[in-house]
Amino acid sequence: MATTQTMTPSMKRERRANLRRNAFYLALIVIGLVAPFVAYPVFLMKVLCFALFACAFNLLLGYAGLLSFGHAAFLATGGYVTGYLLSSYPALTPELGILSGTAAAVALGAVFGALSIRRQGIYFAMVTLALAQLMFFFYIQAPFTGGEDGLHGVPRGELFGIISLRNSLVMYYFVFAIFLFGFALIQRTVHSPFGQVLKAIRENEPRAVSLGYNVDAYKLVAFILSAGLAGLAGSTKTLVFQLASLTDAHWHMSGEVILMTLLGGVGTLFGPVVGAGLVVSLQHLLAQSPLGNWVGPILGAIFVLCVLSFRSGIVGEAIKMYRKNFK
């Protein structure tokens, strides 16, 4: 009671905003829990994996201002390592498989990050693209990836050695939990002091340097975190579909994740989720329609439209509209 009385109006506003935010999150979680009963669980899992992938990518582009054109490498690395380990060592439980895949992506992220943050802007994009292409060729020839054939029949196994993941519904809740973990981690990071420094670097790098921040170290940590989460998405995806293939390593995949993020809204927490949902649904619908052959040009056209006149993305525009009308 005493505390309520001493609250200033601004604190009240903040508290109301927090309440609203929590209610919003809660509603989304409930939707996530109910979703598999109204839609096809495997499709939902695909959306969640790509949503996590796009969120990881957005951490780098939206909050550190670094456009990576090579995130497919991390998605693929997570997927291949998890797939290979689970196929070759049946005793390994799925959560350990996913952890290993993520760890591999983190390691690769450290190497690529150290190399690529030496360059900025457009050069950074080209360097990451070239490095990812290197990984693509490596995965074609590496014996453990199955080359062109990929890895198939990766066992889903038993979670913690107890819960069988064969059932799609059980698998869905596992994937949903992973997604929530990844999303929460990104949310915490963005709102932490570390995230504030990242944003400062994005806005004005020389100023951040002159303020005494070790800019390269911050960028590198953000890069590694982003790579690791992309790897987590790849590992999870491999478990869902029980396969890992070169598609995930191809530069088209790096382009797709950019499109998802751009369409949903760069630098917004939910934008990548919305963008991933839309792009995956679109591909899904187009693939089975007479327009099936036009997936590439249609995605390209969306790209062009987004860049020309829709740069804030869906969520970004929605936030703008909300601020204009309700504040």
Binding site: Y40, V42, K46, G146, G147, H152, F241, Q242, S245, G296
Partner: protein, 406 residues
Amino acid sequence: MTFIKKTLVSSIAIAATAAMATAAQAEISDGTVRIGYLADMSGTYRDLAGPGGLEALEMAIEDFGGSVDGAPIEVFSADDRNSADVGANTVREWIDQRDVDLVAGMVASSVTIAVTKVLEENDGFGIVSGSAASSITNEHCTPNHVHWVYDTYPLANGTARAVVEQGGDTWFMLTADYAFGHALEGDVEKVVTENGGTIVDKVRHPFPTDDFSSYILQAQGSGAKIIGLANAGSDTVNAINTASQFGVVEAGQQLAGLLVFLNDVHAMGLDTTQGLLLTTGWYWNMDDESREWAERYYERVGSMPTMVQAGIYSSTMHYLEAVQATGSDDTQTVREYMMKQPIHDFFARNGRIREDGRMVHDMYLARVKSPEDSTHEWDLYEILTTIPAEEAYRPLSESQCDLVQN
């Protein structure tokens, strides 16, 4: 939404089944035969199966009458974009959400192997027409698919053997550096050495490669009589084109394309490809029956069918006949019937399906005509010999398939 529709449909189906009180396996599920056509519709392999294959499938259904004993036949199609995950996911969804009874088409070996795993897990059924890898009915065999048109074994067995017998006993292998190329290379090496030839040298090229000039240069340096191409699609086309630019044939070396399709030869032209030996499962102009079907196809599509497109028609017919005869679209019932029936149509001669799922039939050794001998645009091959069905494919005694008792 699809979920609700599906529950509704299946509950109606259950009600209908209960009302009629007939044995479940002698029923066509939901009263509809659903066929999903999965192929590369836009990529490297588009022209050898792709939209033309779908047309062939629809021709088969029309010729069959559009329904099986009153049960309508419904067709879905999807572009797998040569990606194993797109293919596997599409098929998983077809089975989960749409009760697809047969998956047809299937081209890139990587996609096919992934799809057959899904079919096995979900008790679906697939007929593979486009893929080359012989492993599909060897170490990757399942009780849920059969392999129609051809595979790497007869390719090596037909082309490589014939070439060695004609005196081409020293080989330089140019191999696509991935599983399919390695397998083909292995099969060719075996055939060549067994017939008294030698592999002088080999080089593996990245997949895919546009520029073959340096490999052709190496092949020229090797002094081998034959340059064996253990690759496919655009790689083979590029290699042959490059060889022609470097005057390989004029200098006395010969090319052996181990997997060449009609559309490849058509695209490259006879100037470049004349004299090329190749093994094929079918050729549109090989007899009246084939010609008759091919001309009907030509009128619809505007190009002559490849062996894969013809095989899609043939296999779909055989499948529908099995569904009609057994009155069921249950995978094992149909497969058993299909295995019992010999296959003899415009496409397959002396055909039968073995227990490993391999449809063995007569294969043909052909030679690409010279421009002077060719009378029109699609007059491309001359059939030299027939390789009898039982000799063409990998003998069951060498099989690693679990379905074969050795």
